[in-house]
């Protein structure tokens, strides 16, 4: 310690302390900063494998460097993926929307083309291009910590006008639509809120906090778990399907009885 103490008036001591302070601040910041941007760690192997998958399956629309592509008239073929984050990849590829079946008003959900491992590798590659929302971890989706009543309220106010109060989906303009939420994994719904796929707005943590998002996905899970206490739900579409049911099934039963009673008279 004597040696250190002897050199504390050395002209370079100031520089050393400054460096130490900077390193400490940066280190602490790095340690305590919100981990939202990159929660999952991907290895370089993942990134390389993801890049190969990307070039084979995605680059024809998104460009070889994921920078996005336009056709001659300036219309977007595929948007830039720099900064969309792992969450966007996990949602789009994990629900089968990407690679896209065919171009149209909107990408349809289908059986995923990539398995979980490939999806993870693609996410690793895309997240290596620039920071963006990551795949939510278990804590962010933990239904046991959720406030269902708040989730229901947030859902009705922010989501139901497009997705229907029962999550049955709804129509948007010109053939676009808000897809049904029944039977969709919590993490995919969470990712959709974070990344705003297709025609959906982005609900980042400033709009709907991480806690509210957890409440929403937990509420939807609870709705699904409760099922339909009244019997066949008719798709949760409400009065229209109920009316159709009355005019078809119920009316045929009644006509059947009326004809039967009329025929008995002969």
């Amino acid at each position: 310690m004597k040696a250190l103490a002897a050199r504390r008036h050395h002209p370079l001591a100031f520089v050393v302390i400054l460096l130490l302070a900077l390193a400490a601040t940066g280190g602490l910041y790095a340690a305590f900063q919100p981990r939202d941007a990159q929660a999952e760690s991907y290895s370089q192997d993942d990134v390389d494998a993801g890049k190969d998958l990307f070039l084979a399956n995605c680059a024809s629309c998104h460009g070889t460097n994921a920078q996005g592509m336009q056709d001659k008239s300036g219309a977007t073929l595929g948007p830039s993926l720099i900064g969309v984050g792992a969450a966007a990849v996990d949602f789009q590829v994990g629900t089968g929307r990407m690679p896209m079946q065919n171009s149209g008003a909107q990408a349809w959900r289908k059986a995923p083309q990539m398995n979980d491992e490939q999806t993870r590798q693609l996410a690793a590659y895309v997240s290596s291009l620039g920071p963006g929302p990551s795949v939510p971890d278990e804590d962010q989706l933990d239904a046991s910590k959720a406030d269902l009543e708040n989730g229901g309220n947030v859902f009705r106010v922010n989501c139901a006008m497009c997705h229907n109060a029962g999550g049955a989906g709804g129509a948007l303009t010109r053939g676009k639509f808000a897809p049904p939420l029944q039977g969709v994994e919590s993490k995919h719904i969470y990712e959709a809120m974070e990344t705003g796929p297709q025609n959906m707005p982005v609900f980042n943590d400033d709009n709907i906090s991480a806690k509210d998002k957890r409440d929403v996905v937990s509420y939807l899970g609870a709705l699904e778990e409760n099922g339909s206490p009244g019997g066949i739900s008719l798709g949760s579409f409400g009065p229209v399907t109920e009316g159709l049911y009355a005019w078809t099934i119920v009316l045929s039963l009644l006509v059947g009885c009326a004809v039967w009673l009329g025929a008995k008279a002969k």
Partner: protein
């Protein structure tokens, strides 16, 4: 065997006297009990009259009954619900067993509906029975109404009963709408908001009407208690009263019947109420009750816990009213956002024009019997029904009306159609807009031509009989087909209908009425005249004679003869 009858008072002294054969004792007891009752209320005459009343039998006559029986189910299930429903908009914190809403601030009306659904024994079943029987009630009224329309059963002397039935249909809509609003969920609140908007769209007085109904600014604190009174007291009382009038008029007028041999304008061919219709109607009541219960026990309706407690901000995708109100939403979805301002007042054509269309459609339906009566000038009583194809223009008008109604109803579901059929909602809206103007015209014309084609075919059938597909070549090369003549009973149905002709203007006939009769009857197919029929039968007999001479009365084909 039971020794009591429902009407028998408990005077034990009479019982031993009737010990004997079981049936005789029952009859005597019934007679004594009936006599006791008759001396006090003297209903025997009325009962005998009703018991011997004859009704004709046809399955299409039974939809009025379905409406009546589903109304009984409505009353029974509704009574049960009133025991638990709290018609109040006071705010409470939900504390029931439905976890996703625990802690929510809701109205007492909403809370009690959740309580009925999840905690009251049989509550959800009764709620669903009440709602399903309402849908069935309106379906039955509609089917019944259009049965009456297409068979011309609204003609003299039944015009007033048509109006009573029409009023019942409108009251059914009011009952349905007020009931739908009571649970105070988001969906029903959205419906109320539409009604609020419709009222406010009326120039000058609109805002006052809205203030009066809601007791202030929408939604206020009064609307649910008010609707409750309307829904459980005023409207059901009015419906019951009108049903009574409807039934008394039915008995007074006697029931209509389809044309057939032996059926005339002065008789009713059928079975007496007692025992045939008493048993049938009783049985049918339980069938209707059973079907409604079965559907209610298996199929969910109006899951208000999914819609959530009413709050003016959220509107769910796929928000529609019950089916009988759909058409009133369709016009609002189709009309462009037209409005203009005059002297500081906004005139909302996008509200007013649909209201005018709805009113016009309803008024036309209500007044149709009088319009047709004015056109035909027919002042006779009609107890024999028209077969729809024998009144091509009326049938065309009815189907055109229905097509307009259906287009409005489908326009109200444009988002669901777009979603499920993967179509563009914008294209659908334009399709419905164009169809609103074109479809009734096309549908009217096609229906009318189909009816006329059927009339011609039936006319040929009456004159020439059935074609047998057996063709005989005569010696001179002429080909004759063997026709099987109809029997007189079948022919009767085909030749009995009325014939109206277009009138010329002048001689007390206005040019408007002349034009109307021309519209109705210019393409008429004349019914078979007796002379025509005689001639046709003579000709057929002559032809048959020639064929018989040639074939020796053996109509089997040479091929079949060989075997």
């Amino acid at each position: 065997m039971s020794t009591t009858t429902p009407t028998r008072p408990s005077t034990e002294a009479e019982a031993p006297a009737s010990q004997g054969s079981g049936d005789g004792r029952m009859l005597r007891l019934g007679a004594v009990g009936g006599d006791w009752l008759d001396r006090r209320v003297s209903g025997a005459g009325l009962l005998r009259f009703m018991g011997r009343k004859i009704f004709p039998d046809h399955w299409s006559f039974m939809f009025g009954e379905v409406a009546l029986y589903s109304f009984v189910v409505l009353l029974i299930s509704g009574t049960y619900l009133t025991m638990f429903f709290v018609p109040s908009m006071d705010e409470v914190v939900y504390n029931g067993i439905y976890a996703p809403l625990q802690g929510a601030h809701v109205s007492k009306a909403y809370e009690s509906t959740l309580h009925i659904s999840f905690e009251v024994k049989g509550g959800l079943l009764f709620r669903q029975m009440h709602h399903w029987s309402c849908l069935v009630f309106m379906v039955a009224i509609f089917v019944h109404m259009f049965r009456v329309f297409f068979t011309g059963a609204f003609r003299k002397p039944r015009e007033l009963n048509w109006l009573v039935g029409f009023a019942l249909m409108v009251l059914g809509m009011v009952a349905g709408f007020t009931g739908y609003s009571l649970p105070d969920d988001v969906l029903s609140g959205n419906g109320l908001r539409v009604v609020d908007g419709l009222m406010k769209g009326i120039p000058i007085v609109g805002t006052y009407i809205s203030m009066l109904l809601f007791g202030g600014e929408f939604p206020g604190h009064d609307i649910i208690p008010r609707f409750f009174t309307i829904h459980i007291l005023l409207v059901p009382a009015a419906i019951l009263g009108l049903i009574a009038i409807h039934m008394v008029m039915l008995v007074l007028h006697k029931h209509t019947q389809y044309p057939g041999p032996g059926r005339t304008e002065r008789n009713v061919v059928g079975f007496p109420v007692f025992p045939v219709y008493a048993a049938k109607a009783g049985g049918f009541f339980f069938l209707v009750f059973g079907i409604i219960t079965l559907i209610s026990a298996t199929t969910a309706i109006n899951a208000i816990w999914i819609y959530g407690p009413y709050d003016p901000s959220p509107v769910s995708a796929g928000s529609q009213p019950d089916w009988y109100m759909l058409w009133t939403d369709g016009g609002l979805r189709l009309i462009p956002g037209w409005e203009f301002t005059i002297f500081g007042y906004t005139v909302s054509l996008n509200i007013l024009l649909p209201i005018v269309v709805y009113g016009g459609l309803l008024v036309f339906l209500a007044l149709y019997p009088f319009i047709e009566q004015w056109v035909t000038g027919d002042d006779r009583e009609h107890h024999l029904l028209d077969l729809p194809y024998n009144a091509p223009v009326r049938t065309g008008i009815g189907v055109a009306w229905l097509s307009e109604y259906l287009i409005l109803a489908m326009a109200a579901t444009n988002d669901l159609i777009a979603l499920k059929l993967r179509l563009s909602i914008n294209d659908l809206t334009w399709t419905f807009r164009i169809a609103f103007f074109l479809a009734p015209i096309i549908v009217f014309y096609v229906t009318k031509r189909l009816c006329i084609a059927m009339q011609r075919q039936k006319r040929d059938l009456a004159l020439h009989g059935e074609e047998t597909s057996k063709v005989v070549r005569m010696e001179d090369g002429q080909m004759l087909e063997i026709h099987e003549p109809l029997n007189e009973f079948d022919r009767w149905v085909l030749v009995q209908h009325d014939d109206y002709r277009p009138l010329k203007a002048g001689k007390g006939v206005s040019s408007l009425r002349a034009a109307a009769t021309s519209f109705f009857f210019k393409d008429r197919v004349a019914p078979v005249a007796p002379s025509e029929l005689r001639e046709a039968l003579e000709h057929a007999g002559h032809e048959r004679h020639r064929i018989d001479e040639l074939t020796g009365g053996d109509y089997t084909t040479p091929d079949a003869r060989r075997h």
